[in-house]
């Protein structure tokens, strides 16, 4: 028997997608593969997606894969490669739920005392959606009429197999037709579950052994697995129970010819309700909505979703985020209050649902929608534009992909290049190597879709641990340090040359570059150059059109390469740091090991020194240097990455927008200064603390800016004016979260109103969410009453936002001076009468500058 120990690498635990990958990885072998979770003692057949999922495996759980059988050696090597290379990337394109986790705790006054119309819940997908309610009734869990009596096993079995086949065909075509990667992945996960031996054999067993009706067997089996899942410690796995219901539903439908779920559900709730024409926009309200049902809805008319108790990571919620439909989960009692056809606002920002059409709330949400629209426009703008720091330093932002099906998503996220195209998926899990033409097709597709943008293709990175039937590599005690990647190229020239020929041919169709993995010596680059020259000569001989020149870069993964950039530059056109492996080799820490987790820290000052050296050598040699490891994707690390002077950052596509936005706010000089300090820290903890302070402090910006001034505000109440100002500050990058500032300002306001009785109000707040002390100014089209009926009319509102940590700084002095100036009528008159934004800006600036 062969046993492989590992720590489970994915944050969301072992859910359907990684489980189906694991199942696929086991399929080519005859050996039995048993998955053991050493934390909870559960076992699973690694060929059963359901049993794997039911093992309730969470991130970092110590796990073991036991392989027994005639081909166990081969299977062991293949699976250990799978665990190291493929599994950790299984969730790379999962949309992050982070933005949608805000809990409705504090609410501004406009929401208060409206218990019936404001329903607090949990945000599942961000955004604001307004439309009339379309209530979908919950179906009964399983159809009736098949439960009783013994059945003809053969007939039932046939019915069951037919139903599975039909359902599979439907999902397959849905997966192929899905334009959205998440939707396709979910359909594929469903496919894996339904062909799961643990699921299918159990049902078949019940039918033939107990003479059950197919429907009964399905509902019994589903119930067994659902029970296990619902007891899981991981919220993510608990939410997978909904997928099983979805699968069972589809099977019942095929067995008993019930109507397709989701697309018009039967019942009185279909569009014939008052005040709503069929075809008008709506918010769908449903207690349980399966992924299939969501996919079947008409998304052009769908403005929002109000669901029952659904988790953030349920596939339904993931799909809502993938399609950018705002969604909120409500407790059952609140859900029942909503009636067909009433006006709803789904607030996926705060996690609540508002019923009815109260003008004050409508006006509030108009402001929120405007802010979201402006923010989206800015992100879209950033996406279109090349990334650069505040002081104009260009950094190229690229995407890592594992196959050509990920290209579209990468470009959509705003990638300026493909910084790493992993080609292993073309080679794994097959009996013969992909031929040159097959590879050519894949690379050509990448070249064309890039429209001139660079695509960096990494040559074969398979190790002595990955037994491919067509590539026999020796078994070694430590394959991580063994005969892998570029190290076997000398013995497998034909395999490598077929890849190089395919790349050279494809390079005629776009801007392709080659990157060599695992280089530690100059000879390896010489070898690659030689193979490349031969590949070119062979194509010339065969008279096949190809590119004559192609850039060759080195993936810096070994400490040797990192310290040898100056010499390697003679043979390499560029370098890209694979920070994950480089860190593991540099610190001698296995990144999969559960016990060493804390030691594996990219903020180790020695590691920063290594990168600093490599970057310096690359600059001197006039070669560009990129980074394509996880370190590049973390917005918190960016000040150090920018400080190090990387020319290109490559990451999983979903990370791109946040990284671009953060870069735009950084000053490269300040980043270099920070790095210089970090290089001399005594520990990773110290670096982390310094970095945290740097990120928390934010950027020193001038107190006032043109984008913080609005002279034509339509706000009619303190609620609106405060919201509008907080939004201006958030859009201006002064405040992380406008809602949090709003809370601080209102808490201050509630101790005593801040209108001065002089036509001005001066709301202000001190909060951790404020990045840099700032002032925002609003002039109202129509004077308003700030507080009660007797308060004097307010014509202008000046808001002051101060970081929680501010103590006696220059900014506070400036703001104190501004406050004093407001006591002078001439200054107030000026602010009220100046015609344009620039005039007001100049007046405020002058007042802030006077000493």
């Amino acid at each position: 028997m062969i046993a492989i120990d590992f720590a489970f690498p994915l944050a969301n635990g072992l859910h359907a997608r990684p489980a189906s990958l694991m199942q696929e990885a086991c399929l080519p072998f005859t050996a039995s593969c048993r998955f053991c979770n050493l934390r909870n003692g559960r076992h699973a057949n690694a060929r059963s997606v359901l049993e794997l999922v039911a093992s309730d495996t969470a991130a970092h759980d110590p796990c073991r894969l036991e392989i027994r059988g005639v081909d166990e050696t081969k299977a062991g090597r293949s699976l250990s490669a799978f665990l190291r290379e493929v599994l950790p990337h299984a969730d790379d394109d999962l949309p992050p739920p982070a933005a949608a986790t805000i809990q409705a705790a504090w609410l501004p006054p406009v929401f208060r005392n409206r218990a019936d119309s404001v329903l607090p819940g949990r945000a599942l997908s961000s955004g604001i959606g307004m439309a009339r309610a379309l209530v979908l009734q919950k179906k009964s869990a399983a159809p009736r009429g098949f439960a009783a009596g013994k059945k003809d096993a053969e007939k039932e079995l046939r019915l069951f197999q037919d139903a599975c086949r039909e359902a599979e065909a439907e999902w397959r075509s849905q997966a192929a037709a899905a334009k959205n990667a998440s939707a396709a992945a979910i359909m594929k996960a469903h496919l894996a579950m339904i062909s799961d031996p643990g699921f299918r054999e159990r049902i078949a067993g019940l039918i033939s052994g107990k003479k059950m009706a197919a429907g009964t067997a399905i509902s019994k089996t589903t119930a067994t697995f659902t029970r296990t899942l619902r007891c899981s410690a991981s919220a993510y796995l608990r939410e997978r129970a909904g997928d099983l219901d979805d699968i069972a539903d589809r099977l019942y439908e095929k067995l008993y010819r019930r109507p397709t779920p989701g697309s018009p559900r039967p019942g009185p709730s279909q569009p014939a309700h008052k005040g709503q024409r069929p075809g008008s926009p709506h918010v769908v309200v449903a207690d349980g909505l399966t992924p299939s049902e969501l996919l079947a809805l008409d998304r052009r008319r769908l403005r929002g979703l109000v669901l029952g108790e659904v988790g953030l990571t349920s596939h339904t919620a993931i799909l809502a985020r993938a399609f950018a439909i705002s969604a909120v989960a409500l407790p059952a009692a609140a859900l029942k209050k909503i009636s067909e056809g009433e006006e709803l606002t789904v607030d996926g920002q705060r996690g609540l649902v508002c019923r009815g059409s109260k003008p004050a709330l409508k006006r509030y949400y108009r402001l929120e929608t405007r802010k979201l629209r402006l923010h989206a426009a800015r992100l879209a703008d950033l996406k279109e534009r090349p990334a650069q720091t505040r002081d104009g330093l260009r950094v190229e932002i690229a995407a890592n992909i594992g196959g050509s099906e990920e290209l579209a998503g990468a470009w959509r996220s705003g990638a300026e290049a493909i910084g790493l195209f992993r080609t292993e998926t073309l080679f794994l899990e097959r009996d013969t190597a992909p031929d040159e033409d097959e590879q050519f097709a894949a690379y050509r597709q990448a070249a064309i879709s890039a429209k001139g943008r660079p695509v960096i293709i990494r040559t074969l990175d398979i190790g002595g641990d990955k037994p491919l039937p067509y590539l026999i590599l020796p078994q070694e005690a430590n394959p991580f340090l063994g005969y892998r990647a570029v190290r076997f190229y000398a013995e497998q020239p034909e395999l490598v040359k077929s890849q190089l020929r395919a790349i050279l041919r494809a390079a005629r169709h776009g801007n392709l570059k080659i990157m060599v993995p695992m280089v530690s010596a100059m000879e390896e680059v010489h070898l690659l150059r030689r193979l490349l020259a031969e590949a070119g000569a062979e194509l010339r001989e065969r008279k096949i059109p190809h590119a004559d020149n192609i850039e060759v870069g080195i993936m810096v993964e070994t400490p040797a390469a990192a310290l040898f950039v100056d010499q390697l530059s003679r043979e390499a056109d560029f370098f890209s740091v694979g920070s994950n492996d480089l860190l593991q080799y540099f610190l001698a820490v296995d990144r999969g090991s559960a016990r060493l987790g804390e030691l594996y820290d990219p903020l180790h000052p020695a590691f920063l020194r290594l990168l600093f050296q490599a970057a310096g050598q690359a600059r001197k040699a006039k070669r560009w240097l990129g980074i394509c490891g996880e370190m590049a994707a973390n917005p918190e690390y960016l000040p150090l990455i920018i400080g190090l002077g990387f020319d290109e950052l490559s990451m999983a596509a979903p990370a791109i927008p946040a990284v671009k936005e953060r870069i735009a706010r950084l000053d490269s000089g300040a980043c270099r200064a920070l790095l210089n300090q970090a290089l001399f820290c005594a520990s990773a903890k110290e670096v982390a603390r310094m970095l945290g302070e740097f990120n928390g402090r934010g950027e020193t910006m001038e107190v006032i800016a043109a984008e913080l001034i609005r002279l034509d505000s339509l706000s009619r109440s303190a609620d609106e004016a405060i919201k509008e100002l907080c939004d201006l500050l958030e859009l201006g990058g002064r405040v992380r979260n406008a809602h949090e500032l709003e809370e601080a300002v209102w808490k201050r306001e509630e101790t005593s109103a801040t209108d001065l009785g002089l036509g001005f109000a001066l709301p202000h707040g001190k909060a951790a969410t404020v990045r840099t002390s700032s002032v925002a100014f609003l002039r109202l089209r129509r004077p308003m009453r700030w507080g009660g009926k007797n308060s004097a009319p307010v014509q202008a509102v000046l808001m002051i936002a101060i970081p929680a940590t501010a103590k006696g700084e220059e900014h506070l002095k400036l703001i104190a001076r501004l406050s004093r100036r407001l006591m002078h009528e001439d200054f107030r008159e000026e602010l009220l009468s100046l015609r344009d934004t620039n005039g007001v800006l100049a007046a405020l600036r002058q007042c802030l500058r006077e000493s």
């Binding site: 201050r748 101790t751 005593s752 109103a753 801040t754 001065l756 009785g757 002089l758 001066l762 202000h764 707040g765 001190k766 002051i800 101060i802 501010a806 103590k807 006696g808 506070l812 002095k813 703001i815 104190a816 001076r817 406050s819 004093r820 100036r821 407001l822 006591m823 002078h824």
Partner: protein
Amino acid sequence: MKIVAVTACPTGIAHTYMAAEQLEKTARQLGHQIKVETQGAMGIENELSREDINTAELVIFAADIAVQNRERFANLKILEVAVQDAIKNPAALFSRLAE
């Protein structure tokens, strides 16, 4: 009249200083002599000395929170008002001094 004053508001960001400005401005207009200590986010500024206090006829507290080092004014007549009063209607406040 010679007056000293202390201003202090909950966050100490704006109103402390607005009240101080308002008191100084109005006192000047009315021909009084005034010195205002601010207790705000930047700590105590323009601190009143023992001599300031000893020579003053009266102290104004325009404060929504407790005044720090209040014991300094033990022998002085104190007029306590809300910060808002000093900002919105300083003239009315000064007319109360005559009483």
